[in-house]
Amino acid sequence: MSSKVQAAEVEESSGFYAKHKKVYPREVHGLYATLRVLGVLTLLGLYYVVPWLSWDGHQAVLFDLPARRFYIFGLTFWPQDFFYLAVLLIIAALSLFYFTALAGRLWCGYACPQTVWTEAFLWMERKIEGDRNKQIKLDNSPLTKVKFYRKAIKHTIWIAFSLWTGFTFVGYFTPILSLGQSLVALALGPWEWFWILFYSFATYGNSGWMREQVCIYMCPYARFQSAMFDKDTLIISYDDKRGEPRGARSKKVDPKEKGLGACVDCTLCVQVCPTGIDIRDGLQYQCIGCAACVDVCNEVMDKMGYERDLVKYTTQNAIEGNKSSILRPRIIIYTLILLGITSALIYNMATRIPLELDIIRDRNALYRTTSMGMIENIYTLKIANMDTEVHSYAISMQSDFNAKLLMRDQELVIQPGQSATFSARIEADPADVKKISQDVHFTLVAKDDETLRVEESGVFIGSGAR
């Protein structure tokens, strides 16, 4: 049947472009469907709930772009901490490699926002329009009052859900409570309006209309993930040795007598597929690895009284009858790298000192000669107190030559979450300055907390006695 459908599709289209055929995924139950629902509920739950949590008097998770502060529960990140984001992205990329090599498109099938929101939209669609057959029938029927109302209700609910999604998204960047108040008063700024509406539109469009086309035509991950597959990667596959020749039969008939395989050709695996492919044609790039076909086929096999797993998670090697091992060098190496980087990140974050010192040497003059004949270098010290308490700091300087640090401000007091600029001079007798350029070492330490201590190096330039 599927080949007939494909042939019909080809005849209808012309040139480089084809009219889109809507996919009506049938509802499915089973182990993997349950896992996906759990994933959807957890991820959507986190997404919608997290911005409403508060921590230490601020929104628990808030990416305050204008103030350049990222709050993630007890941690406050400054632009200086951008490094952590880079490491986080490296970990994310490595995780993708790792999980893809291990079990194929796990991300696509269970955790990708496109899958997660589409699942939610499909659920709403089913509640309003009924199951797959009813949906197809409704779409093929002429426009009646009932059809109009059903569609109108569906889109209204979708749009409402999308708007809530857009609002929540902006709530990660603007405190959500005041955002809500501004929304009620219709007093949002132009960019807040833009992002709420844009994100809503993207949610509505991608989950309501685009769906599998995002995965098939737009998503770069989808294409390069297959490059991380090997013959021991878990893929969803139809056992055609067991299944073929396919064909309808009665439950009472012994398939061997009729010369049939285990596949009853019920096409349920095609009907449940969110990307509209036939898994029996083999591994295809459209397959997002959601395992809906595994669930539904097992149901059918149970009903028929056949062995399960006609469609199942398996590996290329296993299909070909070779030895297949999950623990292979690639997985072990990925695991080690991933563990290494993750623990390094955790260690680094745990021992992070919420204090930053920047030494900026004046460049307008190489050095200054005072009326006393001394050589002076001028520095701007930028001190950022990234802690949550006010601190008073003491600064000192060590050098290999005889030099003195002079500060105009004796008190270095900085409020929490603030940075301040101080000017500093280092003075030396020209007789002591033997080199044209040499390092000087600044140490900044909080007077009330020895652990808040940073060291930074600067450069001292002098004429150098030659």
Partner: protein, 297 residues
């Protein structure tokens, strides 16, 4: 842009947009039987087994191409893009800059206005105002005067309470707003090396430093002879009204070593503090004057 260049660009842009439209139409059409059928491979093979299928793109993809062409049309009508045509909305970088400056003035203007109402000497004690003043100083002044306002050779030290043009708040503000020019004429032609040594010795002595007594005597006579007192005064204490430096305080704008003093005498000096009235405006200059005042008071 001259008329011909403008025309050239207009034609090039329009032809490109129309060309894109034509290519899309041409490629979207059904092809002859020679080409691979949809769903078949195109016959190209890479790396042994990689084949290219002639699969169709979704129809909405085609619409995206058309939308970009419509977008280009709207864009070119509203924004500058067609040669000299400025676009319906008349957008340009200069007006965008002016808009942003106006927005910033609107935001920070009231703050500066409030500061400008306080006398400079009083404003200098306001910690918050001085934090703003420091930021302005680092932006506009530190390039010459140093981030600690300690100056450099040729650029006065603003933190030592020694003033060429007076150290009251208003005098500092005048220096910022209208600038200052301080010229020391070159005496090179009228000075033999011996006389130069002598007058240098006298200048060193004036500022309280060691110098050969005999040379100081000769130098003192030359000081009178060349009428140095006309600017620097009989006693060498200078004149703050006109910015003539005090020679008795061992503060040196152009360096206090004998060699540097000789260079000053021989070649003269030309100091120039630019005027900032048009650039910064009265209110920012007021705050800056208060900051500079606070450094030595």
């Amino acid at each position: 842009m001259s008329g011909n260049w403008s025309l050239y660009i207009i034609i090039l842009t329009v032809v490109n947009v129309l060309g894109c439209f034509w290519i899309i139409r041409w490629t979207a059409k059904k092809k002859t039987a020679e080409e691979a059928k949809q769903g078949d491979t195109t016959g190209h093979t890479w790396d042994g087994d990689l084949q290219e299928f002639n699969n169709p793109l979704p129809r909405w993809w085609l619409w995206l191409f058309y939308i970009t062409i419509v977008f280009a049309g709207i864009y070119l009508a509203l924004y500058p893009g067609l040669g000299n045509f400025a676009g319906k909305w008349g957008w340009d970088q200069k007006s965008q800059y002016n808009e942003e400056m106006a927005a910033a003035d609107k935001k920070y203007g009231p703050l500066y206005a409030a500061y400008a109402e306080q006398p400079i000497e009083q404003l200098a004690k306001d910690k918050k105002a001085m934090a703003s003043g420091q930021r302005l100083f680092l932006n506009y002044c530190a390039t010459c005067h140093g981030s600690d306002a300690g100056g450099a050779i040729g650029f006065p030290n603003l933190s030592d309470n020694d003033w060429l043009y007076g150290g009251s708040g208003d005098q500092i503000k005048t220096s910022i707003l209208d600038g200052r020019v301080g010229a020391m004429p070159a005496l090179g032609a009228g000075l033999t090396p011996e006389r130069l040594d002598a007058i240098t010795a006298y200048v060193l002595k004036l500022s309280g430093r060691e110098a050969d007594a005999k040379q100081v005597e000769v130098g003192k006579a030359i000081y009178s002879e060349l009428a140095c007192f006309a600017c620097h005064g009989q006693d060498g204490k200078g004149n703050a009204t006109n910015g003539f430096p005090n020679l008795t305080d061992n503060v040196w704008l152009y360096g206090g070593s004998p060699g540097q003093i000789k260079e000053t005498l021989q070649k003269g000096r030309m100091g120039n503090m630019p005027a900032h009235r048009d650039f910064l405006g009265e209110q920012k200059a007021h705050l800056l004057a208060a900051y500079v005042y606070s450094l030595s008071n």
